[in-house]
Structure formats: C-alpha cells, structure tokens
Symmetry: C3
Amino acid sequence: MPYKPRADLPSGAFTLPARYYTDPAIFAREQAVFYRRGWIGVGRLEAMPTPGSWIAREIDGDSVIVLRANDAGDVRAFYNVCRHRGTRLCEEAEGAFSGRIVCPYHAWTYDYDGRLAGAPHMDGTLEFSRADYPLGAVRTGVWDGHVFVSLVADGPSLDSHLGDLRAKFRDWTMSDLRVAARQTYDVRANWKLIVQNYNECLHCPTLHPALNRLSHYLSGENEPLQGTYMGGRMDLNDGVQTMSLDGQTRRHPLPALGEADRRRVYYYSVFPNFLLAPHPDYVLTHILWPMSPSRTVVVCEWLVHPNERARADFDIRDATEFWDMTNRQDWHVCELAQSGISSPAYRPGPYSSREDLLYAFDRFVVESLGDV
Amino acid sequence: MPYKPRADLPSGAFTLPARYYTDPAIFAREQAVFYRRGWIGVGRLEAMPTPGSWIAREIDGDSVIVLRANDAGDVRAFYNVCRHRGTRLCEEAEGAFSGRIVCPYHAWTYDYDGRLAGAPHMDGTLEFSRADYPLGAVRTGVWDGHVFVSLVADGPSLDSHLGDLRAKFRDWTMSDLRVAARQTYDVRANWKLIVQNYNECLHCPTLHPALNRLSHYLSGENEPLQGTYMGGRMDLNDGVQTMSLDGQTRRHPLPALGEADRRRVYYYSVFPNFLLAPHPDYVLTHILWPMSPSRTVVVCEWLVHPNERARADFDIRDATEFWDMTNRQDWHVCELAQSGISSPAYRPGPYSSREDLLYAFDRFVVESLGDV
Amino acid sequence: MPYKPRADLPSGAFTLPARYYTDPAIFAREQAVFYRRGWIGVGRLEAMPTPGSWIAREIDGDSVIVLRANDAGDVRAFYNVCRHRGTRLCEEAEGAFSGRIVCPYHAWTYDYDGRLAGAPHMDGTLEFSRADYPLGAVRTGVWDGHVFVSLVADGPSLDSHLGDLRAKFRDWTMSDLRVAARQTYDVRANWKLIVQNYNECLHCPTLHPALNRLSHYLSGENEPLQGTYMGGRMDLNDGVQTMSLDGQTRRHPLPALGEADRRRVYYYSVFPNFLLAPHPDYVLTHILWPMSPSRTVVVCEWLVHPNERARADFDIRDATEFWDMTNRQDWHVCELAQSGISSPAYRPGPYSSREDLLYAFDRFVVESLGDV
C-alpha cells in the first residue's frame, strides 16, 4: 500500500514543550479546565444495578459518589463529604446504601436526593436549618449506558458535549451491552501521551506486530477534531473478523450493525477521559484517571451483547488477551516517551502527516489552557 | 436521658477551613508555635530506669535525647547533634550510655550534663576551647512520672503550663504507676482531628457501641478550655466498674481515689500532644507525634498500680483490648474526616452545642497561630 | 606516633551551613555547576567491549547513552531521547545495538555517530530534512580505561581537567586493568558528605578498627586541593602488604609499580564524582550518583591486572570483603551526619587541622556555587 499523506500539517507542526507533560501547575490547570469543567466518564450504569447502589470516583481531588436513585435508573451524584465535619461518607470504590446515606461519624443522614434528613443534637444550635445542608450535587448524564458526571453546574449539557456521537454509534446498541471483562493499569505517563498514542497507528508496525497483521496501519481515515472529541477508523484485513489473537471471533456481530461496520474498528477519544473503540462484535472502552503529571490509571472494559454472554460456550479471552497485550505495549512506550520528554535534553520534534490528530489535539490543549 | 444543651455556642460556630488540616505552611507554623515553644510529653520516667539510660524523640525536625543523669532521677535533655560535624549521636529510640556520650564518627565525648569532655586532635586548632561546644540543652520537667521537654529556653515553666492539673489528678498517684502495656498507631489524619475526636462523645453511639454501653454519651461535663489544656469527664453506668470489654475490672481501684472518682472517667488534653484519661483502676495516656499535615503517630500507654502488676493473676487485656478497639474506630473515622476535609468540595460545617470544646480548641488554635 | 599538625587552618574553619546538605535549590545548582558542566566518571571502557555496546547513565535528569562506536574503541555519547516524539531509546543500564540505534516507538533510526538515517513517513512533512535531527551529542573522554562524559560542548578538555593525575598514576597501568568485582550502595546522605568522609582518616580509629590495624591514621600526607581534584596517601604498617581482611595479599603487586608505591594506598577525589584509590595490587574506584540532597548511589569497583584474574586460584574476596565492610561503616556514619545536619539544632562546628582537605573542599564548593 503506497504512502498516502492524510492531511497537510502546517510547517512547524511540532510536539509540545516538555512542561505540558511534567509541570504540576499545568497539570493542575488541566484538571481545572478539562476534568472539573468537562464531562467525565465514570463507568457503566450496570455497575449500579439497584436503587441505592453506588460507585465512587476521584476527580481533581474531589471524591464523587454516583448513585442509582430509583428503579427507573435515574442517576444522582454528590460530593463524598458530610456537611457536618467534612467526613468522607463512602470509603470503597463501590457499594450500596440501605435507603439512606448515613455519615459514619455522627450519623448525619441524607436521602437519595442529597437532602439532609437527620442531624442528631443540632436542635440546640442557633439558626440551624437542615435545608441549608444538603450534600453538594454533581451533574450526571448517561449515553447508552456510559455514565458521565460534570462538576460544574452551568456547563454545556452532555448531549451538547457528545454532538454527533450518539447517532454515529447508535448501531452498536451500547445500552444493551454488558461488561464481560475489566482490566486496570497503572501507567507512569501523562494522560495526554495515552490519548496521543490512541490516535495514531504509525507506531503499529514497530510496536504491535500482532495488531498489524489484522489491519494495515495506513488503512482507515481520521475525522477532524470536533471540539469535544476526535477519532477515526481502521479497516480489517481480508479474512479478519475482529481484533483478537487470531483475527477470528467466537461471537456474532452486534445485531444492528451494517455490513460496512462489520469490517471496521473505530477509535474515538471523548475529551478528556473516555476512549471508545467499537468493534464488530464487542466494544472496548478505556477510562483515564490522571493521578499526576507522570501517572495515569487506565480502566479498560470489554462490552458484549447479553445474548453472547449468556451462551454456555461464551469466551472473550481472544479479545481480552489481544488487547491486554496491545495495551501493555502501548503503556510501555508511553512510559518511555514520558521519560524522554522529562529530560532537559528533550526538544519538540516534527510530526508526520499521519499524526494529524495529535497535532490537532495539542492545539486544542494549548488553546483550552491559555497562557501557562 | 433528655437532650441537655451544654453551652451556648455563638451563631457561626463552624469547623475550621480546610487549610488548617492540609496546608504544609500552617503545619510548619503549628510546629513552631505549639511543638517548639510548648511543653511536649515524651514518655514515662520509668523508661529511663538507670543513670545514663535515655530515650530519643523527634520534635519539629529536631531529635532530642532525654537522659536520666543520676540516681536521684534528674532528667536532662540535649539535641542529638554532635558539635563537631553535626553527626547524630543516638540512632535508636532508646538506649543507655556507659558514663559518657561518645560521637560514633570522631569520638567527641560529652558528660551527662552535656559538657564536651574530649575532642581528639583539636589541640592544634586555633582559638578552640572545649567549653564553647557543649551539647545544645533542652528544658525538661516531670509531672508525676510524665516527662516533658520544651525546646525554648525562656518560656513558661512546666508548673505554670500544667496549672491546676497537678492538684486535680493527685489522687491517682501517677508517680507510682507503671506501664502495663503500650500500643503505637500510625494515623493518616491531622493531629488536631485526633484532639477533637478525643473531646466529644457525640460520635459514641454511632462509632463506639461497646463504649456506649459503659457510659451514656450525654453524661458528664466539660470544663471550659484553660489556655494550656481542656477536658471533661463521663459517668460510668450503674453496674459498670471501669472501661473494659465487659465493664468489669480485674484490678482494685487506685488506692487514694475517692468514691466519686471511682465512678468516672476523665479525658484531658494537655496541649499540644499529651492526652490523659484517668480511670478508676488505670490511667490511659496518648502522646501525639505529628509527622505531616495528614499523618500523626500516636503512642498509647496503660499505667497501673505496681501492686496490681505484681499480682500473679494480673491481666490488663480487658482494658487494652477495649481501648485498642475503640482507638482503631477513632483513628479510622479521623482518617475519613481528613480525606473529606482535603477535598475541594469541603466547606466548614456547623458545630452542635455538644461540641463546645472543639469550637473552643479551634478558636485557641486560630488565635495562637495568628494570620496564616 | 605523636600528633603532627598537618596544616594551619585559619581561625573560623568551620563546617558548612546545613542548607548545603539539605536545600533542593542548592542541590540543583550543584548539579548544574558540577555535574552538568564538569567531567563525570561513568564507568570502564571494558563495559563496552564491542562496537555498538553501550551503557546508559543519568546526569542531572538527563539520560546519556555512552557507546563504543567501532573496533578502535572510539567512544560516543548521546542524549537518550528520540528527536521525533522524545521517546527514550534505551531503557536498561547497558546493552548492545545491532548496527543502528532504532527508536522503539516509530522506528526513527540513527547511526553510531548519531545521524538520523531513517524516519518513516516523514517524506510528506514540509521542510523536513533528516540532517536537522541528529541525536544530541555529549562529549566523551577516556583516562586509562576510565570513561568520562561532559554535557557541555565548550568546557575544558578532560586532559586539562585531570592535570597531573595521568602522570601521577601512570605506574598503575590502569588501561590494562579489568573489573574483578562491583558493589552498588544506596546511601541516605549528601554526596559531599561522602567526599568528605573519603578525605580524612581521623575517624578511622573510632569507625574502622580493621583498617586502623593496617595503616596508622596519622601516617601519610595530603596534597593541597588542585582545582579539579584533591587527595593524599597513607602508609601501610610494617608487615602489611595491602588493604585486605588480614593485611596480606593473594596477588602480585602491579608490575610497573616502584618500591615506595608498594607500601602506600592513595585516595584521590576527581571532582565531582570519581574517587580513585590505587593500592599496591588493585585499584578501587567509587563513582557517586547524587539522587537528591540526602541520597547518593555509590558504585564501587575493584580493578586487577588481567594476569591475576586469569590465574586458577584468583581470589579477590580478601579485598572486596574488607572494603565492603569499611564502605558500610562509612555510609552509616555519613547517614548519621546527614540526619544531624538536617536538624534545626545543627550549627557549623570547628574542623581540626587533620581535616584540611575537607575545609579546602568546602571553600571550593562555596566559591564554585556563588551566592546561594
């Protein structure tokens, strides 16, 4: 396959200065701009199967409790901080309340809408009214079973954030899908290096020989960056059914999928932390949790159709082992990039025209952060 | 028992801003104001049983050697730093000298009063006089066997610091008591959260069901904050003899104790780091060692009368296991408070009137630290 | 042996203020002044036995690849950073290339002179020329098999840095020697405390009873500090053949050594990080790698004549075990010094006239760093 220039990058399309990957002040600003003000993927709705079940996630230093409030599946989210003396209400990453949210210290009690319902011995306190002390609320939104939260009250809606993505990936019927496997990684690299790694396959021949046998790295097309997301697609080689260890699948294609999408794998980054890779027979998600300028925890989930998961001979290991291997190759080289960029000797280098999304993402980051 | 408002707190009696629990600069100022200039409990005199035996403790970054200087039980304390090239003289937490304090590097040698007695090969050094290089001295004081040190030479005396406490707890004859058990805890919480936890029992029904069976959490009275200490007492329920797993005791009451004090447990905080809880049959102490804004090491000791300890059937486990369980419940909720208060979402919350000592302590801290 | 004042120190010859051992800003300045601008010992040429074999070392945050470029033994050094996206090229401490240096991420490829020989898919990039993106070069130099690098392009030559040392130690024929043993230590002390410890034996009677039996600590002479190095020598006691566990040797003296040098041990510090101790029958080196103000990794190697190493009964343990024991005694007391000096109570103390090199080194450090 001959080389096909993808986009004309301007002269001077270079990687970012090192400080974007190492400076704690820039990291703090990213947290404030992207993670506190954006829509943050936190997990699947099925992780909260019954009213009162919850998950807790840390965003920019705030622990947030995400809660299924009722049988209808309404989701609420609150800061994990009692309004009395600031005690953390939930310690674990997930759990279930029994009708009320009770602080373990002095038993201040909240309902599933966050209202303070009980506050022992506060009746003697001047000017105290329970109505003044609800749990701090956090906005929530759900896209086909993917739960998002936003720490700001006045930002754009999740729908506005997602733009065309709801329509684009409707045929994968992601609301119906269920988690078949999960893997968590602790990566010693900046979260943006992981986003960049996700958005080019120029490294595939060198780093991923197995993947490179399934899809040619110059196949596919990128969609220009859309303000809140970017992505593209790759074509599966002839005879390849999906991305798995042997390129074959033990599962049916997702039922509503058209012929063309059965021959493709998509890779989309919904800023800042949700990476979505729809395959013909499963959907792969990565959720990024930046811990420091040089460390990111990545949670990877494989979603499948419930009919498949219910089969006696269901087996997803061909896909999980393929992607676990590929993930580890990626994290490793991201860590090497973090190390090199952290050296005083590092200088920004030139992007190739196959790295058009990376350059667009860098511009987006630089413009979003402003002067740093 | 009906609710009994204990004190009228002013309107706006709220917990402190988060920075008092998280800011390293405020922590450093607390160390300078409370720990460097105050009287710091370091342990029991019996830990230094013979002349030359010593303990070492770290205060605001300074290691201090506390030494029994002679048979009379005089206590001296010195900075653990050789005057030649700054070498630490003692490495361990306790030990015993053999007549002299000898630096392990070049054998500079000091007597038990800290005087430089030998300095090899310094006779050729211009203007050198051994008299100019004693060990740096630290003030010491003893209260009924509890040893205190103060890093400032010109502060108030220990007697002045203790005020009425010597008289108040005379009947427990603490000089005679001996350590029956010791437990050390590493708590991921600010030292002030531990002091606050120690000074209210409003959390007892929720957090300490066992303790709550021994003493009603609304019993007892607090004494107003006294400038260098604060505290109060609880009444034992009918049929309860002491705080132990079953409320019974295997020990005689302390011999000089009056009838009323045989039915009570006291809890006193001698600022900044010495917590004293006299019981009918034993005395419980907690010594706090702040390590960082969010970490405190706590050393807990149980003191008993030597006649009890000498008995063949002596057993203190009813008290140690009870308090070890209760301590761990307290440290755990202090850690939850530290976590919640460290979140950006934390806002100061309202104190109840049962938390009067906490509000007084907060005021004392804020006024002592000044602008921060 | 009577006390023999070695040099007249001026009045006020005191140890340095604590900040020289604890302040991260001074540490950073030392790294910039001494480690980035000086000549840094990195290891033996024999560690790179064939063309393409390399070692990697970290200097002031920069990883440097040191490479044997050809059969002639020419040494090149480069920053370990790909010019494309900053990826670290080599991960391990040593290895061997196969003809080319290939980046693991996108396969940018460099030759052994650092020239960019291949850059896939960059042909579509505007104004891109491979000639503009060589690996960053680092200067190298070799002294009798000891390899040095310097991160600055315009500093003095290695020959100028070494001054008389090449001539002084010619008789040990160090080019011919081979590494017989290596030991790495992680020392919780500032690198300058290790240099100081290395340059006086006043501590030997206290700290090193075994060493003190082999050479009297007041024997020998120091050479005044020379700008880039300092050192001195000790005399072996009668009947002692070398520094080893029993003072005897299982090896012949180095072949070109004169009678006088067979009775001596030298200790030289080539600033900033190379410590050289020629013995009658082996050469001991210490290379210092400062990790933080309070931590230094030390790599110690024992070099012997290849004829000795080839002998069937070759055994170096008498020397390695002796120096391993002595090293550990030294590191331990350096750690005690670091602890004491880090205390607020530390005050500079007076040097004896046997510590003349230490005072000279302190002056050299202070003058080199300027205002701090």
